[in-house]
Symmetry: C2
Subunit: 335 residues, 2 copies
């Protein structure tokens, strides 16, 4: 059975999507001349500011280009569905946002992305553009705590990008922006659950198989295997399972503040996300933790996958300020 999609030719889906995005958001975004996969913020980059370049595969919308805008990322390099962008659009992004203060590459830890962003950084270094790299590794299920550097980056990107983007907007130095990005990543924890697969535009076939009444805890946003498959449990029990893993690592104390993200993997509706949010609030209340801000909706999707993820960012005063800092992106605004 093939999945039905409102697309034209599958191989054109990403480029046609980008055309649509630029049609809808001309005041926020433009593509570098001759490089339609390099999407830049109209009002972000400026002289003396560190440029923040994010990116990754398509199919996770509004990640990543929905977070390009004043106060957040300056540009996003766009890959094919679930595939890293090649070096060219990454280089074009870095060049477009270069304000003379260096550029930070900030993206999820996936082998393909690391290879291409690193290649781009090497080529930019030859042109004397200083690039630093921070990888997001917020997906708790993807490797043990003592191997955090092996973890993947998932929905927690939103908070990590937000903190780094605010630091750039506040004219922090490249050293400081890099420090903030690393710290934001260290303090961000995501656990997801998948209920159904998605299918790629080129194949229209499910990217994995799962039983009619099963869920998979910890599955990655491209269908990477999770840590446990079992019968679907009630929302409160699922939420507890995800939250327990996060809280075990986060080591928060009563009175600490957190930012919460309840993210849909695509087809899970707001009703279910808010039912999970209710349980998160109950649990955090019990521990005396304060929800400083919360986001609920589609932030890092896997096309039409069913499932959700919970992210907590463990705030301190600095992160709190950076998370509250205004931003104005086509698909996300604060302040």
């Amino acid at each position: 059975m093939k999945t039905k999609k409102l697309i034209n030719a599958g191989e054109n889906a990403v480029d046609e999507m980008l055309e649509g995005i630029l049609s809808a958001h001309p005041d926020h975004l433009y593509a570098v001349d001759g490089m339609p996969r390099a999407i830049v913020a109209r009002h972000g980059p400026r002289q003396g500011k560190v440029g923040l370049v994010i990116g990754g595969g398509s199919g996770h919308e509004p990640s990543f280009l929905g977070f390009v805008g004043k106060g957040l990322a300056d540009a996003a390099a766009v890959g094919n569905v679930f595939a890293s962008p090649p070096p060219d659009p990454i280089i074009a992004c870095a060049t477009a946002v270069n304000g003379g203060a260096g550029v930070l590459f900030l993206y999820g830890n996936y082998a393909g992305d690391v290879m291409n962003f690193d290649m781009a950084a090497e080529m930019l270094a030859m042109d004397d553009l200083e690039v630093r790299t921070v990888l997001s590794t917020d997906d708790v299920a993807s490797a043990p705590a003592d191997q955090r550097e092996k973890r993947r980056g998932v929905a927690g990107n939103v908070f990590i990008f937000k903190a780094a983007g605010a630091a750039c907007d506040l004219m922090y130095s490249l050293d400081e922006v890099e420090r903030v990005a690393r710290f934001a990543n260290e303090r961000t924890y995501t656990m997801g659950v998948a209920l159904s697969p998605c299918s790629l535009p080129q194949t229209l076939k499910p990217n994995f198989a799962i039983g009619e009444s099963e869920m998979e805890i910890g599955m990655g946003i491209h269908g990477e295997p999770g840590v446990a498959r079992g019968e679907l449990a009630p929302a409160d029990a699922v939420t507890d399972t995800l939250l327990d893993k996060i809280l075990e690592e986060m080591k928060a104390s009563a009175g600490d503040r957190v930012a919460v993200l309840i993210n849909s993997l695509g087809s899970t509706p707001l009703m279910e996300l808010y039912i999970m949010m209710r349980r998160v609030k109950q649990r955090l209340d019990q521990m005396g933790l304060v929800i400083h801000t919360s986001l609920v909706g589609n932030y890092c999707t896997s096309l039409e996958m069913a499932g959700a993820s919970i992210t907590l960012m463990h705030l301190d005063h600095e992160l709190q300020r950076l998370i509250d800092h205004p931003c104005d992106c086509a698909m996300f605004r604060v302040g």
Copy 2:
């Protein structure tokens, strides 16, 4: 086969969702004491301002309570999934937002909603609270053009609510707010296409059947029968089919401005919506119509239904101003 949902007991889904929404958005929303289905804007209602009350069944999130906030609706009455709210929460909403200048009830034209909102209006009239009612009827497929008053209200609500809410915020009189709401409705046209059913939390069973490669043009947001069922066509052809019906009625001239909404019915991802947006832009460009603003995403959903709708609002100077007027809701912001 049952649909998998991240819920607890199905009969508690709506109330648990509301708890989650209030947990996530305490600065924007509160429930009337003892009336958890009456959700009011913290910063909307005020003395001398017409109160705007919207509402309807659950399962369409972010409709309707996502559009409650300063500059938009003052309160929303919340029903069960795909079912009208009873009079009590409607009365509670009206009472909570009453600033002495009257109240407008503005909601989609469905028999159950009409019955309950009318009953509430009658009871409020006995307490000397003046209530006017405007029904939204933007769903082009649901009745012929010469019986517009029989049409249902769907995603175009977003623009109609927006215009009326701005008029209230600008302290228009009840007469003027009613006029604006009627005019906004007259100028708003929606056409949808459904690819897959959704299922209700209580039953977990699909609400209609559709073939593996079929689409249905004009299906309603509760699965009401549409105007044509056929093989799924490429996105551009589907977009043309929807747009042709809208443009045939809209009678716009070159240079006219429109507001565009490309809305997901739930599980259709942003990639597909933006591919449709691309085609809308091409077609409107050909006609010399100007896209004044565009919204793309989940605005009026049917739980996890697959499919999308296109809405055009045919702007004039007044509607343009009202659509641009700032609003600050938990799930929607402008300005």
